[in-house]
Amino acid sequence: MKAKDIMEPIKDTLRPQTTIKEAIKQMKLARRGEQRVGVKGMVVLDSDGNLIGMLSIKDILRAIIPEYMTMAELGEFTWEGMLEKMAKRVENMKVEEVMTKKVITVNENAPLMEVADIIIKHNLQRVPVLGKDGKPVGIIYVRDLYWALVKALLGEEV
């Protein structure tokens, strides 16, 4: 099997100029397969449909956690309501300011071993799949590899 055989086709995408507040709303409504189940990460495309970034919940959390907390171990000294207040501060930031810009991708014809290798080496939750023209056509989640294992080891169809 190849990447394109297990990937989920991309249905919802984000634009770089969208605000974080709007992006969170879109993530909540995003589809996986046919259902609107919400996703924890989405691809960001420019107007020509090229992949320019990925926005995940972790990216948003990273923007919410104040910079000075990364300079020292201060987690024990935070207070109730701090996260909510900091979240308000970033709600009007643009997706492009927060997203991960260096996106690791796989080609749609990549074998599954390559996909697994990339996911483990880079500690990813999901990896976008690029088509022939270099534009994203799908996303492979760790879960999709799990189903591939189910099929390989248990012989069950998904």
């Binding site: 104040p66 000075y68 000294f77």
Partner: protein, 407 residues
């Protein structure tokens, strides 16, 4: 310098007059190693949170307590490390109190430079002056600490007047501070005890190093070795890797450059000019030197400045007292106020601009990264008056103590 043979390698590495001042290098390495262990214990975070709670969450009190704490820590440890560890906690405290962090950060910069002036180990210019003039730790305590304490006292009054109305917060915000438990900051209580023990040993060693006839560098290296030994660490290279090697090599390179400049006679030429200008009057020389040092240190880094001025002062002394040599020349009673003026001017002048000292550059940079930009002008608004004030106080002090009372 070495390739062109202006300075021979032998001179650079083995001759005291022209070469690398290994006392400075190894004192820095020793102290940096001790701090590298200490900073992992959570000590600095503990102290900062404790200060905020001592101030009962009141922003003005916290500002003043952190000012004193930063000054004391900078006097005993490296300025840059002190601010590097205190500043993140300061941001958190200001966030909790919903007040602007800018006054806190600028005051901590001022405190680090003022506090650093107080002791031999507080600031690199003092380390360099001590090594060149063969002064000991207690000389600095007797001569510089009193005026620094006085400046800190004045600063506290100014802060109270300046920020009394401007720093206010709600009772709810104060509770956030009071709910913090400073003990949570301590990551490794045993290592903390060991570090503080070694620090106490080292500071005691500094107090007596003149009597013991040991160089401060020897004591600092002994402390670093002792701490690594009793901390039972399995990978000391972690602590060594965090020594600021760029700073160390900067010093080595700087000493070589200055050595070359001294050897070709440029410094001699300058000292003749200065003596000519002040007509050999050492009081005038100290006053001019103090103000010139303050201005120069505000504009350029005070480390290369002092590295150049040290041989210049010695050269002047040689011209005034041609028949005196060695320690008697370096510590000629009439020369001492000149050394103190150089130290006060160079250290306190660092407050004059955002680029006046390493601590300034680092705090302003950290603040910008944290989304709180401190503009050049905003810094000058605090920096220039405070520098003028502290230098004026120092000038009166040097004049009164060494030329009027002659104590």
């Amino acid at each position: 310098m070495l390739i062109l043979k202006i300075l021979e390698q032998h001179e650079a590495f083995h001759v005291e007059e022209f070469g690398v001042d290994w006392n400075v290098i190894f004192l820095l390495i020793g102290m940096m190693t001790i701090i590298n262990v200490l900073k992992r214990t959570g000590f600095f975070e503990y102290v900062a949170i404790k200060s905020a709670k001592l101030g009962r969450g009141d922003p003005l009190k916290i500002l003043m307590i952190l000012f004193v704490v930063t000054a004391v820590l900078s006097a005993l440890l490296d300025n840059v490390t002190t601010v590097l560890l205190i500043v993140p906690v300061t941001f958190l405290i200001c966030e909790a109190l919903e007040v602007s962090p800018t006054p806190f950060l600028i005051m901590q910069i001022m405190a680090s430079n003022i506090g650093g002036t107080a002791t031999l180990i507080g600031d690199p210019p003092n380390i360099m002056i001590a090594s060149k003039a063969k002064l000991n730790f207690m000389d600095f305590i007797y001569n510089l600490t009193p005026v620094v304490i006085f400046i800190i006292f004045i600063m506290l009054i100014i802060m109270k007047l300046l920020f009394n109305k401007r720093l206010v917060t709600s009772e709810d915000n104060k509770k956030r501070i009071m709910r913090m438990n400073e003990r949570d900051a301590i990551k490794d209580p045993l290592l903390l005890k060991k570090s503080l023990f070694v620090l106490a040993v080292v500071l005691t060693g500094f107090v007596f190093h003149g009597m013991l006839k040991l160089e401060p560098a020897t004591i600092a290296l002994f402390g670093a070795g002792l701490l690594l030994l009793i901390s039972r660490t399995h990978n000391p290279h972690e602590y060594f890797a965090e020594i600021e090697w760029p700073t160390i090599f900067f010093f080595i390179g700087l000493f070589i450059i200055v050595g070359g400049v001294v050897k070709v006679g440029l410094v001699k030429w300058m000292s003749v000019k200065i003596l000519h200008l002040t007509e050999g009057n050492l009081f005038a020389t100290s006053m001019v030197l103090m103000w010139f040092s303050a201005i120069a240190s505000a504009i350029v880094d005070n480390i290369p400045y002092v590295a150049t001025m040290n041989p210049l002062v010695i050269d002047m002394a040689e011209q005034i007292w041609p028949h005196v040599t060695g320690k008697e020349l370096l510590q000629h009673p009439d020369l001492m106020p000149v050394w103190w003026s150089l130290a006060l001017g160079a250290c306190l002048g660092g407050n004059g601009s955002p680029i006046g000292a390493s601590a300034n550059v680092i705090v302003v940079g950290m603040s910008e990264r944290a989304g709180n930009r401190i503009s050049f002008f905003r810094f000058l608004l605090y920096g220039i008056p405070i520098t003028l004030l502290s230098i004026t106080v120092s000038m009166l002090y040097v004049w009164l103590r060494y030329y009027v009372i002659k104590f």
